[in-house]
C-alpha cells in the first residue's frame, strides 16, 4: 500500500511537472490534422502516391514557414491513409481520421473514391479538398463540405475542344476527320461522350469510336482499324500503360496523322518523353499543368525531380489541395469546421502557380480552373495553349515521318 502511494506521488509530481512545462516555455498551438486519402497500393498506386507526395510537401512548406499564423503558428500534421482503390476503404479511412481529429481531408485521385469519401466526410461536416478526381458529380451533389481547386470534366473537355479548334484553325484546318480511342470505364466513356458531341462544332467529323478495356496489352487491331478509317487525327482518352502502348503501335504501324490529341492522357508525362522520345515527340495532350511562366513552378518542379526524379501534374494537385485548406484555416483563424467551410466558400487564394487566377468557388468548384494544351518538344513538356501561359509554339501539323 505504501509503495502504491509512493508511486502515485511520484506520478503526480511527474504529471504536474509535465503540465507545467508549456506554461514555462510558452503555449504551443495544437496541431491541425489533415487526412490524406489516396490509393498508394494497387493499380492506381503511382498516381495516388504522387498526389500524396505533393500533399506532404505542402505540409512541410507550411510548417517550415511557421504553420497557421492566425492560429498561433499551429503546425499541420498529416494522417495518411491507403484507399487501395476501393470506395469502402476510402469511407472507412474518413471515419478513422475523423475520430482521430482530422480537421480537413484531401484526396482521392480517382473519382469513385472521391465520391464515396466526400459524402462520408459530409456526415461530419469536415471540409474535403479534392486533389484529383475529375467527375463533375463530386461537386454537383450539393455537399457543402466539398471543394475542388482543379478543373472538372465538363470544363476540361470544353476547353480541350476549344484548344483543338484554335490549333487547327491557326494551321489552316488540316484536321477534318478524327477517330477517338478511349478506355471503357467512367473516365474514358465520360470524356468521349462529350468529345463526340463537340467535335463537329469545331469542324472535325468523328469517323469512329474505338473503346478498349483496361488493361489492354496489344493495340495492333485497334491501330489497324484506325488505319482503315484514315483519320487526320486520333483522339485518345485512356490510362498510363495503354496510352504508351497505343502511341508506340501508332508509330510502329506508320499511321500517317496530322497529330494525336489526348485529353488527360494517362501516359502523357515526362517519363514517357524520356523513355520513348521518338514516339512521344510532338504528341499533344490537354491536361493539368502549372503555369510555366511563373518562376515558382520551375523551382517546384526542380524540387520534386531532385526528390523523386519524376515530376507530374499530380504533385501540384496534391500540393495545392492542402494549401487550399491551410489558406482557409489561416483566414478563418480557426480549424472549426463551419468557419473553415465559410472561408473556403469565400476563398480568393492567389498564392499558387497554376494557370487559374485567384480561386472563386461556385458550389464547391473553382470556376477559374482550366487545363492547358501540352506538347512534348525535344523531350520536354511545353505549354502550347492558351497563349497567355504558353512557353512554346505548337508543332501542328506534325512533320511527316
Amino acid at each position: 500500500m505504501s509503495q502504491f502511494l509512493r508511486l502515485s506521488r511520484r506520478g503526480a509530481l511527474a504529471g504536474a511537472a509535465t503540465l507545467a512545462m508549456p506554461a514555462i516555455g510558452g503555449a504551443q498551438a495544437a496541431p491541425v490534422k489533415v487526412g490524406l486519402i489516396h490509393p498508394v497500393t494497387g493499380a492506381l498506386a503511382g498516381a495516388g502516391g504522387r498526389c500524396r507526395a505533393g500533399g506532404l510537401m505542402a505540409i512541410e512548406d507550411i510548417n517550415a514557414a511557421g504553420g497557421i499564423k492566425s492560429m498561433g503558428g499551429a503546425k499541420l500534421e498529416a494522417i495518411l491513409g491507403d484507399a487501395q482503390g476501393r470506395p469502402e476503404i476510402a469511407t472507412q479511412l474518413v471515419d478513422q481520421m475523423a475520430e482521430a481529429g482530422a480537421a480537413g481531408f484531401t484526396g482521392c485521385f480517382a473519382s469513385a473514391l472521391g465520391l464515396a469519401a466526400t459524402q462520408a466526410a459530409a456526415k461530419y461536416n469536415i471540409p474535403f479538398s479534392i486533389d484529383s478526381g475529375i467527375a463533375d458529380a463530386i461537386t454537383t451533389r450539393g455537399l457543402k463540405n466539398t471543394f475542388r481547386f482543379f478543373p472538372n470534366n465538363s470544363t476540361a473537355t470544353a476547353d480541350a475542344m476549344a484548344a483543338l479548334g484554335a490549333l487547327n484553325k491557326a494551321a489552316g484546318s488540316p484536321a477534318k476527320t478524327a477517330v477517338i480511342v478511349h478506355e471503357d470505364s467512367e473516365f474514358g466513356t465520360n470524356s468521349v461522350k462529350l468529345q463526340a458531341a463537340m467535335l463537329p462544332g469545331i469542324g472535325i467529323e468523328v469517323k469512329a469510336l474505338l473503346p478498349h478495356a483496361t488493361p489492354t496489352r496489344d493495340f495492333t487491331n485497334i491501330v489497324l482499324r484506325i488505319k482503315a478509317e484514315k483519320p487526320d487525327i486520333v483522339l485518345i482518352s485512356n490510362y498510363e500503360n495503354e496510352y504508351v502502348l497505343l502511341a508506340r503501335t501508332l508509330v510502329q504501324q506508320r499511321v500517317d496523322l496530322v497529330s494525336t490529341f489526348s485529353i488527360s492522357g494517362g501516359g502523357f508525362n515526362l517519363k514517357f518523353a524520356k523513355e520513348a522520345p521518338t514516339v512521344a515527340e510532338n504528341m499533344i495532350d490537354f491536361n493539368h499543368w502549372h503555369n510555366p511562366k511563373d518562376p515558382r513552378s520551375v523551382a517546384f518542379r526542380k524540387r520534386v525531380e531532385a526528390a523523386s526524379g519524376f515530376y507530374s501534374w499530380e504533385h501540384p494537385f496534391g500540393y495545392f489541395a492542402v494549401k487550399l485548406l491551410a489558406d482557409a484555416w489561416e483566414r478563418a483563424g480557426s480549424a472549426d469546421k463551419e468557419r473553415a467551410i465559410a472561408a473556403l466558400n469565400g476563398s480568393t487564394m492567389a498564392d499558387h502557380f497554376m494557370p487559374y487566377g485567384p480561386t472563386k468557388f461556385t458550389n464547391g468548384q473553382n470556376s477559374g480552373a482550366h487545363p492547358v494544351a501540352l506538347q512534348i518538344q525535344k523531350g520536354d513538356m511545353t505549354v502550347i495553349w492558351p497563349n497567355e501561359v504558353s512557353d512554346a509554339k505548337a508543332v501542328f501539323p506534325r512533320p511527316k515521318a
Binding site: T41, P87, L115, A122, E183, S185, E186, F187
Partner: protein
C-alpha cells in the same frame, strides 16, 4: 445459450461510440453475408462459383436503375433485386447444369458470366456504360440512406441473419439433404431420385437472389456503382474467400472467415504504414490458413468436437 451469446456479440457495435468501429463491424457483417450467400450454393451444394459478383452486380444495378430511372423507392430495390438475382441464378444454373457442367468447368462458366455482365453493363446506354450510376445523395431512412452507420449495420445484420437462417435450414431440411447428396456424389444422388439440374439450379437461384440484395445495400451505402464495382472479380474472390477460409458448407464458416479476414486486414492497415505491406500480411495469413487448416476455421471446432467439418473439397 449459444444464440444469446451470438446476439450479444452482434449487438456490441450498437453501443460503440466510434462510427469507425461500427463501420468495421458493418463491413465484416457485409462480407459474412456475401460469403454466406456464396456458401449456400458453393458450400452446401458444391457449386464452386468464381463469378458470384454477377448476382451482386445485378442487384446493385437493379436497385440503382429502378431508383434513378423510374423513381422507385430504394427499399423496393431489395425484393426486386432478389427476384432479378434469382432469375439470373436460375438462368445461369439451367444453362450450365443442363449442359452437364460441374467442378472447374462450372467455376469457369460463372467467371465468364460475370465478365459478360461486366462488359454488357460497360457497353449499354441503359446502365450508363462505363460512366456508372451515381445515386443521388438524400439522407433519410425512407430513402434507405442513413447518417448513422449503426442503421446500415442493422440492415446488414438482418440480411446476414436471413442468409444464415437459410444455411441452418439447409443443414436440417430435405432440400439441404438433397444438396448434400448432389455435392457428395451426383450419380448416386440421381440414382436415388434426386433431380440434379433442378436442385442445383434452385440452390444457385436462392444464393444469387440473396447476394443481389447485398448489391442494393452497397449501392445505397456508397451511392455509386460502375461495371468494375458491380461485376469485378475482386468481389467474387472476396465472397468465396470468406466462406473457404471460415469453412465452406458450415453455417458459421463465412462469419468466422469474415471476422478473421477483416480483423487481419484492418489491424494490419492500422498499424503498418508502409504501402503494400498490409495487403502482403493479409496474403500471408491467407496462405497460412489455407495450408494449416484445409477444412477452414470452422473445421478446427469440428475436429475438436469430432464432427464432420463441412464440404470444403466438394
Amino acid at each position: 445459450m449459444k444464440w444469446v451469446l451470438v446476439g450479444g456479440v452482434a449487438a456490441v457495435p450498437f453501443v460503440l461510440p466510434s462510427q469507425s468501429m461500427v463501420n468495421i463491424a458493418m463491413l465484416t457483417a457485409f462480407s459474412a453475408f456475401l460469403g454466406q450467400c456464396w456458401n449456400i450454393a458453393g458450400g452446401f451444394g458444391g457449386l464452386t462459383s468464381f463469378g458470384h459478383a454477377v448476382f451482386f452486380g445485378s442487384g446493385a444495378y437493379t436497385g440503382a436503375i429502378l431508383q434513378t430511372r423510374y423513381g422507385v423507392n430504394p427499399w423496393v430495390g431489395l425484393p426486386a433485386a432478389f427476384l432479378v438475382g434469382g432469375l439470373v441464378g436460375a438462368g445461369i444454373g439451367a444453362a450450365s447444369f443442363r449442359a452437364g457442367l460441374r467442378g472447374s468447368y462450372f467455376a469457369l462458366v460463372t467467371l465468364a458470366f460475370a465478365e459478360v455482365f461486366r462488359v454488357l453493363s460497360n457497353s449499354l446506354e441503359f446502365t450508363q456504360g462505363g460512366l456508372g450510376i451515381a445515386i443521388p445523395l438524400k439522407v433519410s431512412a425512407w430513402n434507405f440512406q442513413f447518417a448513422d452507420r449503426r442503421a446500415t449495420y442493422a440492415v446488414v445484420l438482418v440480411l446476414l441473419a436471413v442468409a444464415s437462417g437459410v444455411a441452418v435450414w439447409l443443414t436440417k431440411g430435405r432440400m439441404g439433404a438433397r444438396l448434400a447428396a448432389v455435392r457428395e456424389n451426383e450419380d448416386a444422388a440421381a440414382a436415388l431420385g434426386v433431380d440434379i439440374v433442378r436442385t442445383k439450379t434452385w440452390a444457385l437461384a436462392l444464393s444469387g437472389g440473396l447476394a443481389a440484395m447485398g448489391g442494393v445495400v452497397y449501392g445505397q451505402t456508397y451511392l455509386y456503382i460502375d461495371p468494375s464495382i458491380g461485376f469485378g472479380t475482386e468481389r467474387s474472390v472476396e465472397m468465396l474467400l470468406v466462406a473457404m477460409i471460415g469453412g465452406a458448407g458450415t453455417v458459421w464458416g463465412p462469419v468466422l472467415g469474415a471476422v478473421v479476414l477483416h480483423v487481419v486486414a484492418d489491424v494490419s492497415r492500422a498499424f503498418i504504414a508502409t504501402p503494400g505491406f498490409a495487403p502482403m500480411v493479409y496474403g500471408v495469413v491467407l496462405l497460412v490458413i489455407i495450408a494449416v487448416l484445409p477444412q477452414g476455421l470452422a473445421g478446427v471446432w469440428a475436429q475438436v468436437r469430432g464432427t464432420p467439418g463441412g464440404a470444403r473439397d466438394a
